[in-house]
């Protein structure tokens, strides 16, 4: 009897492991950070691309109801395709869009904006990429929607889609 129970529990144990492994097969093995909502954005200061003046993030964000911080770079191909959507957004709404120019060369960045238009009210430089990391970003492009208390309402990893845009418009109205 004792023996039977022992073997039964061994079988059950392995069945459990089997189930876990089986369910595990469905999970993606690629990690994406969870979308953390309602988190405070870390403050930073940086130089503006055109005016060379120093700005603090707090100052920019608190003077507007909503702010969209968009991390971009001239060497990043998805940013190029995303740019039209951003242009559109800046024309349609009076949303304060801040560019964070990630690991870019100044000339290339300016050329990029000359060519494709400038949707940003300010363009801050993140030359070594550390500002983006301190915001919890993943790569380029990535966007954060903030309210005037520096709280992250939405975070978009990868290029913005038109669905994202309609969501943003809904929130700011």
């Amino acid at each position: 009897m004792k023996k039977n129970i022992f073997y039964l529990s061994v079988l059950l144990f392995f069945t459990f492991i089997f189930t876990i492994f089986y369910l595990g097969l469905d999970k993606s093995n690629f990690y994406k950070p969870k979308e953390v909502k309602n988190k405070n954005l870390e403050e930073f200061t940086s130089t503006e691309l055109f005016s060379n003046k120093q700005f603090s993030s707090k100052y920019i964000i608190e003077n507007n109801n909503f702010t969209l911080i968009n991390i971009w770079s001239s060497w990043c191909a998805p940013c190029r395709s995303e740019h039209a959507i951003l242009m559109n957004l800046s024309k349609k709404t009076d949303l304060n869009i801040i560019g964070l120019n990630y690991k870019d060369k100044k000339n290339n960045a300016i050329k990029f904006l000359d060519e494709l238009g400038n949707p940003y009210s300010k363009n801050l430089i993140d030359a070594d990429g550390t500002i983006s990391i301190s915001l919890g970003a993943y790569g380029v492009p990535e966007s954060f929607l903030l309210n005037n208390k520096s709280i992250v309402i939405r975070k978009y990893i990868g290029p913005l889609t038109s669905d994202n845009i309609s969501e943003i418009i809904k929130i700011i109205q």
């Binding site: 023996k3 073997y7 061994v10 079988l11 392995f14 089997f18 876990i20 492994f21 089986y22 369910l23 595990g24 097969l25 469905d26 999970k27 093995n29 690629f30 990690y31 060497w75």
Partner: protein, 624 residues
């Protein structure tokens, strides 16, 4: 084109032979014949031969760059050097599974030839169980990973082999590793057979021991080759990263090492029967678990195979069928442990082997849970965590101290019962001397002084004890060499991790930097076009405080197909110190990121693993 046909139909034929062998072995088992029928020999040989043909036809497709074959298209390129065209055969999922089959069929064939003295029924049963595994792998190959899929229209050019796999050490790493990793299947089949036959005794132990030692030897060398490759090719200067792919080769190794010792107890004392069987079965089960974890893509690893959930499901079901089969067989056929009057005495060789097993199982459980826990956590709570070196070090290293001491004290005890008095005072004095030496060496390292000196002392102690044994010559040479090797291994790793130093900076041509007592000069740069890559070679001159100049030539290779950049480190090895330098391009500039490392005792890590495995091999060669 033709070769793919030949390869594919060979596989089909091989599967049919496998199924017929399953029936044949049952048929002859029922007939109670005194001899193994010649038909079975012929079929086994034919099966092996056919897998060889299938394998050769795949190699041939790689050599002639036959891109109508999907595997060749995905993993080869016509400009690749011939050597890497050949080795590319097993550098991918499908080809490496064909290699699996080759080893599986080779081992059962050899096993039947070399087991003539064993009972007929036992041999037939071994064939039966091995054919279950073989037919499972045939099905796996044919259904989910056929290496001979056709492509139409035929592409002009292949996608190429990942450049980091184009390397001599990695070319021979899989075949050698598999001889151990897959070779353990024969131990699995033979133990299930002996469980049913109920012939688990001293004779069986003597016979299976050779197979355990052979599998263990190749597994050890295979892991060593993988580490050496990681050391110089991945360009990070490390040799073990606790990556899932590495862990899954370590698990069967730990299990096999425990088995290696336990089977000696069975051989000498006719004890620990069921434990020996459990370990035999577990070893191959861990090989299968490893295959599942790596090939299904369930874990994230540096070395990824193209994965596909279908494959994962197949392997998973197959793996657990083998596990359940073993459990049920254990339930039906009870193992008769020999009379309980035989005692284990505290001071005896068998107890010290039990202690070895105790630690081995502990290390195994750490590796196992460290590798699979993220899967459990994700399925149950939907959270992801990473488990890396700090976890393994925290749980393993403290136990290593006791393990080393037990190893030094226990391995030369006598069987049945030894005396306290045989543990001489000189050994205790020796231990304290070791602590002093070790303390002296590590005193410059500020952190965890006590802990590291005790660990160092334990390794040194094992080293000295074995040197003494070796000089006495009374003892088992193969054991002494392996154990000495293990002491040296731990000591080299410890000193290596304590005294490794590194420096990294961005440099350009002509620049000179001083780091500590050394001067590093970026003296030359040139670029060369090779067969399938363009190479940028940089020359660094390193001048030490005695004005000796070492020239190092790290390289950046720009492969054409696939278009990948690799950094080739340059390493100057001397007996005490490796100088390791690797460069990386910084985006679009003439500046290179230079990482220069000095790694003491590196070569001793490799030598010590060689010693460990040579000791094991001497055991195989020794006549009983």
């Amino acid at each position: 084109m033709i070769s793919s046909h030949i390869g594919y139909y060979s596989l089909l034929l091989g599967f049919i032979i496998s199924v017929s062998l399953l029936f044949y072995s049952i048929f002859y088992l029922k007939k109670n014949s005194q001899k193994i029928n010649q038909n079975i020999f012929s079929l086994l040989f034919l099966q092996f031969f056919i897998v060889v043909i299938s394998f050769i036809s795949l190699v041939y497709s790689f050599i002639i760059s036959d891109f109508s074959n999907e595997t060749v298209y995905n993993n080869s390129h016509s400009t690749k050097p011939l050597f890497y065209k050949i080795t590319g055969t097993w550098g991918n999922h499908e080809g490496s599974l064909l290699l699996w089959l080759l080893v599986l069929t080779l081992f059962i064939f050899l096993f039947i030839i070399f087991s003539k003295k064993q009972p007929v029924k036992y041999r037939l049963l071994s064939i039966f169980f091995q054919q279950i595994i073989i037919s499972g792998f045939f099905l796996f190959l044919l259904l989910t990973s056929n290496p001979f899929n056709f492509l139409f229209p035929i592409p002009n050019e292949g996608l190429g082999l990942n450049p980091i796999l184009q390397d001599p050490a990695l070319a021979i790493h899989p075949p050698i590793l598999y001889l151990g990793y897959v070779g353990s299947s024969i131990i699995f089949s033979a133990s299930l057979a002996s469980l049913i036959q109920n012939n688990i005794n001293k004779l069986w132990a003597t016979h299976i021991k050779k197979w355990i030692q052979i599998a263990w030897f190749f597994l050890t060398i295979g892991i060593l080759l993988g580490s050496i490759w990681a050391y110089y090719e991945l360009g990070w200067g490390g040799f073990w990263f606790w990556d899932p792919v590495e862990n899954v080769s370590l698990m069967p190794w730990l299990c096999l090492t425990a088995l290696f010792h336990t089977v000696i107890v069975l051989e000498k004392r006719n004890l620990l029967k069921s434990w020996t069987l459990i370990l035999s079965i577990a070893t191959f089960t861990f090989s299968m678990i490893g295959t599942f974890l790596v090939r299904s893509g369930i874990l994230n690893s540096v070395h990824t195979f193209a994965n596909d959930p279908e494959r994962g499901v197949f392997i998973l079901i197959f793996l657990f069928s083998l596990i359940f089969l073993s459990i049920i067989l254990f339930f039906i056929y009870q193992v008769n442990e020999s009379n309980t009057e035989k005692k284990f005495f505290l001071i005896s060789k068998e107890t010290s082997i039990l202690i070895n097993n105790w630690f081995m199982m502990y290390f195994l459980s750490v590796v196992l849970i460290g590798t699979t826990y993220p899967i459990f956590l994700e399925v149950i709570t939907n959270e992801k965590i990473s488990i890396g070196p700090p976890f393994f070090n925290k749980l393993m290293v403290p136990f290593l101290i006791f393990f080393l001491i037990f190893m030094a004290l226990g391995s030369n005890l006598k069987w049945i019962k030894d005396n306290y008095k045989n543990i001489k005072y000189s050994k205790i004095i020796l231990f304290f001397v070791c602590i002093l030496i070790s303390f002296y060496i590590v005193k410059k390292t500020s952190s965890e002084l006590l802990f590291t000196s005790v660990l160092g002392a334990a390794a040194l102690y094992l080293l000295f004890v074995n040197i003494r044994e070796f000089l006495n010559k009374k003892n088992n040479t193969s054991q002494t060499i392996s154990h000495f090797g293990f002491g040296l291994f731990v000591l080299s790793i410890l000193l290596n991790s304590l005294f490794s130093d590194e420096f990294s900076a961005n440099m350009k041509l002509g620049q000179e930097l001083v780091y500590k007592k050394e001067q590093i000069k970026f003296s030359k740069i040139k670029s060369i076009d090779k067969e399938n890559y363009k190479s940028i070679i940089v020359n660094f001159e390193i001048k030490d405080d005695e004005k000796n100049i070492t020239s190092l030539y790290p390289e950046i290779r720009i492969y054409n197909q696939p278009n990948i950049l690799t950094s080739e480190a340059d390493i100057k090895t001397t007996i005490f110190l490796d100088k390791f330098i690797v460069i990386n391009l910084i985006k679009g500039e003439e500046i290179f990121n230079v990482r220069y490392q000095t790694k003491p005792f590196m070569i001793w890590i490799w030598i010590s693993v060689c010693l460990i495995s040579i000791g094991g091999m001497l055991g195989v060669l020794k006549k009983n």
